[in-house]
Symmetry: C2
Amino acid sequence: MPAKVSDSTIRRLSHYLRILEAMARDGGGTVSSVQLAAAAGTTAAQVRKDLSLFGSFGKRGHGYQVAELADRVREILGLGRDWRVALVGAGRIGSALFEYADFRRRGFHIVAVLDVDPAKIGERWGTLAVEDVASLEAALEREGVEVLIVTVPATEAQAIVDRAVASGVRGILNFAPTQLRTEDGVFVHDVNMVMELEALSFDLTNRIPADVGDTAD
Amino acid sequence: MPAKVSDSTIRRLSHYLRILEAMARDGGGTVSSVQLAAAAGTTAAQVRKDLSLFGSFGKRGHGYQVAELADRVREILGLGRDWRVALVGAGRIGSALFEYADFRRRGFHIVAVLDVDPAKIGERWGTLAVEDVASLEAALEREGVEVLIVTVPATEAQAIVDRAVASGVRGILNFAPTQLRTEDGVFVHDVNMVMELEALSFDLTNRIPADVGDTAD
DNA sequence: AGGTGTGAACACTTTCACAGCA
DNA sequence: TGCTGTGAAAGTGTTCACACCT
């Protein structure tokens, strides 16, 4: 609800939540911003600023109630409900994601799996059958899908996404290494593993610590 | 080599590179910063600023030579060589990554696969055999591994990483949803798919476009 | 004219530092 | 006293606008 919330803040909230849930399992009680920051690898001021964008959840002199704060953060992130998800692309990555327990644990339920490959169509995945991507619209409508996970080749991703958006999907988790174009009000988040490896390659090549011989300017 | 290069710049360079390579396949020639920006979903000024951090690669009035610029960006990112990578965690995600052609195409070669599960140890993966993670150090040294991909459960990730760093690994691509602590000069990049879904959940819950009824402040 | 390279202006994010409540 | 919540300061990243080269 606040006017401006940065992406980094949201990422950190997600991180805080994971930590808070671990703390809750270990007994809970209270945390201070200092403790939470240490666990999340950030600063206490950052933790307080992030939280204060959404309300006053702590008690001065005492810190935050672990269980209660976890509830609040879940609520902020919109995790107080289940999300119906379709998976397009029944390849290796799609299959790994389908089995990924953390998605379900967080309320993201894969309710349809689709592919173009005739060899895959009809395969049983858990309680689902892989469907022909030709009937994407029908599947999305039938299952009331709101979020799409895209693990098809880059060349096919845009067409699939256009059809899904036309069918009412407003959230996309994109694993295809391509820049998706969508209308306003549709949210795309990219997971680009090659990009991360390339960033690592850059770091290893250029960000050598001072003591290894980076004296030249 | 420049003093300060932001992470966002590196991500964009990686993105530019993918676009430039596609353009090179389509015949090459020249690109202007306006064209490259349009393809990458950013601004022309941003493209020029990003590139100018590393040198002057364009010709005023003409733009950039596609093939040459691609070479330069590859060089900047440290992609002018091969990287020897070990994969720890031979589960679903590990297996998907092992098959992921884009890694190899970019020069990231998985030269060892390790797991704790006795049922998996000894399995043949391509030309490799899955090894016992107990002999991690031996495998890393034998293969001259520089980069580790971690797809083990969160609880085991830190111990593995500590051992790998002690064996000389300086780059880590971490799929475990946990905050890894490492010494200076070791670079960790996280791929956190649950976090991306949670960010999507936040967007869908809170960033509703104006016309759908977000008038309240 | 056309399009790069870049200092300067602007916008956004993080950190500081402290008032104020338990 | 202890720790939150938050304006103000500092720091970073992005956009602007134009000099300059071809």
